[in-house]
């Protein structure tokens, strides 16, 4: 189940009859390194490695399981504990609000989500309330037209709340309403306020935080801020088609007490999959 380089490490202790402290320490160091390289939060990595080490030394492997398999299983269990659950996305009427940092992939993911529900036989509609970024309206409108999804936006209007007041009644008859918002980060207080205002009007069923797979140690702080502001119900990791491992998603999940809903791995509307913990973990430890 684990990735390549960690497999090699484990092969080294394959022959070990019983696992001694030194072997475990070396193994944990390698796991620590793999997790840090994958952008998992430093404090979380330290906490995880301590637990993995303690459990590996103290727990007896179940009958028939050799010590090496036992350590692998412990690592796997600890990670599954954090992100093992894939969000439960119902295939019915709902409103979804997309939020996240600048450039993280919200607009592209909004269209991917619309496509996902469209393929499942539902009627999606998208509203653009990014009144800030030049060309945001054109970008989302074009993408929606390409997949024949209903789109509402007001090109000249700089007031997101107004656009929603006009737009929400217009898309009332659609099954899944997706609201794309402007990028923002924790320190932009006016933008955080705007996000809260949007939330108040929309009262969405889902608030998805779109997180770039390459995000580093900031993932934890940003997820926390977004969660404190409007409450995040799911994480979507974008750009997993590069070399980034998406380790920031671990903290995002624990900070928001939610789960990973989807992963995006490409620029087209088809490049969205439901999150699968096993594949993600094996890539994380690669």
């Amino acid at each position: 189940k684990l990735g390549g380089s960690l497999q090699n490490v484990l092969k080294r202790i394959a022959g070990a009859g019983r696992i001694d402290e030194r072997t475990v320490s070396e193994l944990v160091k390698d796991i620590q390194r793999a997790l840090l390289q994958a952008d998992v939060n430093v404090k979380l990595v330290m906490k995880l490695s301590k637990r993995i080490k303690e459990r590996s030394l103290k727990e007896k492997p179940p009958a028939g399981i050799n010590p090496r398999e036992h350590v692998v299983h412990i690592v796997y269990q600890e990670l599954i504990d954090i992100i093992g659950r894939s969000s439960d996305i119902k295939l019915g009427k709902q409103t979804i609000m997309m939020v996240g940092l600048q450039g993280g992939g919200k607009t592209t993911t909004t269209v991917k989500l619309a496509r996902y529900f469209q393929r499942k036989g539902l009627k999606p509609a998208v509203i653009c309330v990014d009144t800030f970024r030049p060309g945001a309206y054109e970008q989302l409108k074009t993408l929606c037209e390409r997949i024949h999804v209903a789109f509402y936006g007001e090109a000249g209007n700089s007031n997101a709340v107004e656009i929603l007041k006009h737009g929400l009644p217009q898309i009332e008859k659609y099954d899944v309403k997706i609201i794309d918002t402007a990028g923002r980060h924790a320190l932009e207080s006016e933008l955080i306020q705007e996000m809260e205002d949007i939330y108040e009007i929309v009262k969405p069923d889902h608030k998805f935080l779109v997180l770039d797979a390459a995000m580093g140690q900031q993932a934890s702080e940003q997820a926390k801020a977004f969660n404190n502001s409007i409450g995040i119900t799911g994480i979507i990791i974008s750009k997993l088609d590069g070399t980034a491992k998406g380790g920031g998603a671990l903290s995002a999940v624990s900070e928001t007490d939610s789960s990973i809903a989807f992963i995006g791995a490409g620029e087209t509307p088809e490049d969205l999959e439901k999150f699968e913990p096993d594949r993600f973990i094996s890539r994380l430890l690669g």
Binding site: L36, G135, L187, Q217
Partner: protein
């Protein structure tokens, strides 16, 4: 007193953690700490100096050295260059290339240079609209073709236009692309072959973690860049990516993006970054 390995083990570990928490990639942090360790062991410290402060000073010096590598004066380069100077902006998706071009264009305009912008992202939805809005706001000429056109042709046309009209600077935007996408990286090479740049700027974001190393290295191998602009440093990022990129490529950081407005661009100051990173 001679510094021995044991006395600096813990301070070095604490500092490595500090680097990692500041978004310095682990390979880079390991190498920097290892170098410091080798240099310090066996060297002398004064009796009243604590090992911890010697190590901290060594780290500050090492970081400054990494991030001051091959420092360039962008303003001087532009002023001395034969016109039109052609600058191409490259990087992975969403890092801030288009916005950074607008900031640089704004800066050059304030310095009384004539500037033309090439809408070299002919792929992404709304890309041409986005850069056109910036060009209009800045009162600058934009060269564009229709969406889906060959980006090399757009950039080539912009150079021809600049030569004919005696324009000082051409800023070429390119589509964001994954460093692992062979076809897109080949396309980038083609753009630079058809319309050779005088200067290539790699735009990456301060919020990127370990992947900053991968992408900087691969972009630098494919289309060697002359300098880097690190965007989104205002997102409370300690900016460790600057260390990762400078260490991996040996190329200098030119500017930092500190917000979404045209004026949110500051000249890179190694001391400012290192001080912020270590605190």
């Amino acid at each position: 007193l001679i510094i021995d390995e044991k006395s600096i083990e813990k301070p070095l570990w604490d500092l490595e953690i500090a680097l990692l928490e500041s978004d310095v990639a682990i390979d880079v942090a390991d190498e920097i700490i290892a170098t410091i360790k080798t240099n310090l062991i066996g060297s002398k410290r004064k009796i009243q100096q604590k090992s911890k402060s010697v190590v901290e000073q060594a780290l500050e010096d090492a970081l400054l050295k990494v991030v001051s590598v091959n420092q360039l004066n962008f303003d001087e380069i532009i002023s001395k260059a034969k016109k039109p100077v052609h600058i191409v902006f490259i990087g992975v998706n969403g890092t801030g290339k288009t916005t950074t071009i607008a900031k640089i264009a704004n800066r050059l305009k304030k310095q009384n240079y004539s500037v033309v912008i090439a809408a070299g992202d002919t792929f992404r939805a709304g890309a041409i609209d986005q850069i056109e809005l910036h060009a209009n706001k800045l009162g600058l000429k934009l060269i564009k073709h229709q969406e889906g056109a060959d980006p090399a042709a757009v950039v080539f046309d912009s150079i021809e236009y600049a030569k004919a009209r005696h324009i000082d600077v051409v800023l070429s935007d390119t589509a964001g692309r994954m460093h692992t996408n062979i076809n897109l990286m080949d396309q980038l090479k083609k753009i630079c072959r058809v319309a050779p740049p005088d200067f290539v700027i790699f735009v990456d974001e301060a919020v990127a973690g370990n992947d900053a190393v991968e992408r900087a290295a691969l972009f630098n191998t494919t289309v060697p860049f002359d300098g880097c602009i690190l965007s989104k440093t205002d997102a409370d990022s300690k900016g460790g990516a600057a260390i990762s990129i400078a260490h991996t490529t040996g190329k200098p950081i030119l500017f930092l993006g500190v917000g979404q407005e045209y004026d949110d661009l500051i000249t890179f100051d190694p001391h400012w970054l290192v001080e912020r990173l270590l605190n």
